[in-house]
């Protein structure tokens, strides 16, 4: 769980981006125009991952369908994390869900945006004393926009999405870079919750190098722990055992008759 000492102080300077490509791009007079065009296109066509993590998900169907109609903003639900741009965390995340949320978040392609809906993602909400929920979402992944309320109305959800669109258009929605720059911090919080041997199948450090976002805070004590516990991928195995079925199968295998 998050301890008060680990909460970053507001206004603390972020590690400086050390990439050199950004400066090179500025010398091209058309780069700025092109960047703006790309950002404009990105902000007008967003796919939202359909993952109902908590009770706030019940206000999303009204927001998506005829009455409030999210599609007029160019936002559509998408079922696969690989093709989605927005991860909506709708409400409290229990520890079991948070593992899946982090796996999903790391699978998404950059640029990706996280919206925390409901008070529970901000500070635990009314489950502040629950043993089962994670309290602050931005301890575990960077969050672009919070929409407070229990639960926020569809108008509030739409307004939050409009804010995100505006941020993308003006190039301010870059919280996803923070995950690569300060991976050690986020991984440390995850390890505190899930145990020291927590790891995901995504190689975030290599991705940080790929996006040119590898910074001094990407590696640290926690990523060292990650390498220490690195283990090869386990072979998939059947987990649902049906004893009666197994006996029947083995009998028919011996008889050599296919069912």
């Amino acid at each position: 769980m998050t301890h008060i000492d680990q909460v970053p102080t507001p206004g603390a300077p972020l590690p400086v981006e050390i990439g050199v490509k950004a400066g090179a791009a500025r010398t091209n007079p058309f780069a700025r125009v092109f960047d703006e065009l790309v950002r404009f296109a990105q902000s007008r066509s967003l796919f939202m991952l359909h993952y109902c993590t908590g009770c706030g998900a019940v206000e999303l169907p009204p927001a998506m369908t005829s009455r409030f109609d999210m599609e007029r903003l160019g936002i559509q639900p998408m079922v696969s994390p690989r093709q989605a741009d927005i991860l909506l965390i709708t409400g409290y995340v229990s520890v079991k869900t948070l593992k899946r949320v982090i796996l999903t978040y790391e699978q998404m392609n950059s640029p990706k945006y996280v919206i925390g809906i409901c008070s529970c993602t901000v500070n635990g909400g009314m489950y502040w004393q629950s043993y089962a929920t994670a309290k602050k979402l931005n301890d575990y992944m960077p969050v672009d926009i919070y929409i407070a309320g229990c639960m926020p109305r569809p108008e509030a959800v739409i307004e939050g999405l409009r804010g995100l669109i505006e941020n993308i258009r003006t190039g301010r929605a870059d919280a996803w870079k923070d995950y690569y720059r300060r991976y050690d911090y986020y991984l440390g919080n995850q390890q505190r919750l899930f145990g020291a041997d927590w790891q995901t199948s995504t190689d975030v450090i290599a991705e940080a190098r790929h996006y040119d976002l590898f910074g001094p805070a990407t590696l640290g004590a926690h990523t060292a722990l990650l390498e220490q516990h690195q283990r090869p991928l386990e072979a998939l195995e059947m987990r649902i055992e049906i004893p009666e079925l197994m006996r029947r199968r083995s009998r028919s295998d011996q008889d050599g008759t296919a069912q």
Partner: protein, 380 residues
């Protein structure tokens, strides 16, 4: 490939595979997972994987005051929150011996039935979507919003309205509310034939839903199935009629039942219950002007409220099935122990695991939606 060249490959008989549905899947209802063991597209076993929404309600409530618990009770079941708060209030009133004024009881009935219609509209849209028809989903959600508007005017909240407190309700109806309820009910009633044309007589839906996930009456009773799922097997059991609470014994309504017990029957029972709920609300609207008087009885200072020691079990009929609270008090400011008997626990875990065996992979989502299981209530 030409058919004459095609030679069916004989797979070894144990050629099974496993498939996870959920928690991030459009065919699953909420944050819930279901693991399937499949042979081809035929399910041979399924295991429910719950716990994604666990918040530890029963423990949380032990640490809060009796009145504070009101705020978290509706959060247990998100699409149909009203029966949660009403049954909790009934439990506290039973322990304290409070007598609820009659007007408050009628107001509670109105709120319960509005919530039932909203939940049914929500779920039948979802059920239609699992058979590939998305129009009923749009219609159901749009019509549900009309009820949420009524809730907003009546209680101040769209989804969670902590309208009930032990001893009554928080506030009276606004002026002219009965007329607006009648208008909305007229509109909803005029929509029912449209729903029948669009969905319930639609051959796509009928062929997909008939014979899908059948439960016999014997099985239903053994597995603890309640609510519309039980009535779809032909048993006429409804807590509202058989163990009346509030003022349901003064109301006229039918208990719709269907015999087959499959997904089709379950959808049809819900469709017919919408009509009965409309009928109940009309009676409440007609009766309310004749009932003057207080809307709640005096209660002690809620911040220092020692509820007398004892235990009670109060049950109501929610849109999902029989919902009950078991509350124990040791005479203190906080409950000693609370327990929710939620209907979805049985429907989404035991019953779904049984019904999935032998069905095809595309029917699993339909069975889950037709059982109307509510994952937050499974996990609590």
């Amino acid at each position: 490939m030409r058919p004459e060249n095609y030679e069916a490959q004989r797979q070894p008989p144990s050629y099974d595979y496993e498939l996870n549905i959920g928690p991030n899947h459009p065919g699953i209802e909420g944050n819930y997972a279901f693991k399937l063991r499949l042979n081809g597209d035929r399910v041979i076993a399924g295991r429910a994987d719950a716990g994604y929404l666990h918040r530890g309600f029963e423990k949380l409530m032990e640490g809060r005051l009796w009145i504070q618990n009101l705020a978290i009770t509706p959060r247990i079941c998100v699409p149909d929150p009203v029966p949660m708060e009403v049954s909790y209030c009934l439990a506290v009133e039973d322990l304290c011996g409070l007598v609820v004024p009659e007007r408050a009881q009628w107001l509670r009935v109105m709120q319960l039935e509005l919530s039932r219609i909203a939940a049914h509209l929500f779920i039948f849209g979802g059920h239609a979507a699992t058979t590939g028809m998305y129009t009923p989903m749009f219609w159901g959600i749009a019509d549900r919003d009309l009820i949420l508007d009524l809730f907003e005017e009546m209680t101040g909240g769209r989804v969670y309205h902590i309208y009930n407190i032990p001893g009554g309700v928080r506030r009276d109806l606004p002026d002219g509310f009965g007329e607006r309820v009648t208008n909305t009910l007229d509109y909803l009633e005029s929509r029912l034939p449209d729903y029948d044309n669009l969905l319930f007589t639609n051959q796509v839906f009928v062929h997909r839903a008939r014979g899908c996930g059948p439960i016999s009456q014997q099985q239903a009773l053994e597995w603890g199935v309640t609510g519309p799922n039980l009535r779809a097997t032909g048993l006429k059991f409804d807590v509202r009629r058989d163990d009346p609470y509030l003022v349901y014994d003064q109301l006229e309504f039918e208990i719709p039942t269907e015999a087959p017990g499959d997904a089709w029957a379950r959808a049809l029972v819900r469709r017919r219950e919408i009509k009965e709920s409309i009928r109940i609300i009309r009676q409440v609207v007609a009766r309310l002007p004749t009932l003057a008087g207080p809307i709640r009885c005096p209660i002690p200072n809620p911040l220092a409220w020692n509820v007398p020691a004892g235990s009670t079990y109060t049950r109501v009929e929610s849109s999902k099935g029989e919902l009950a609270w078991y509350v124990v008090s040791d005479g203190g400011e906080r409950p000693y122990r609370t327990h929710v008997r939620g209907p979805s626990q049985m429907h989404a875990v035991q019953v779904l695991e049984q019904l999935a065996i032998g069905c095809r992979i595309e029917d699993v989502a339909q069975i889950m939606f037709s059982l109307d299981a509510c994952p937050p209530e499974v996990d609590r």
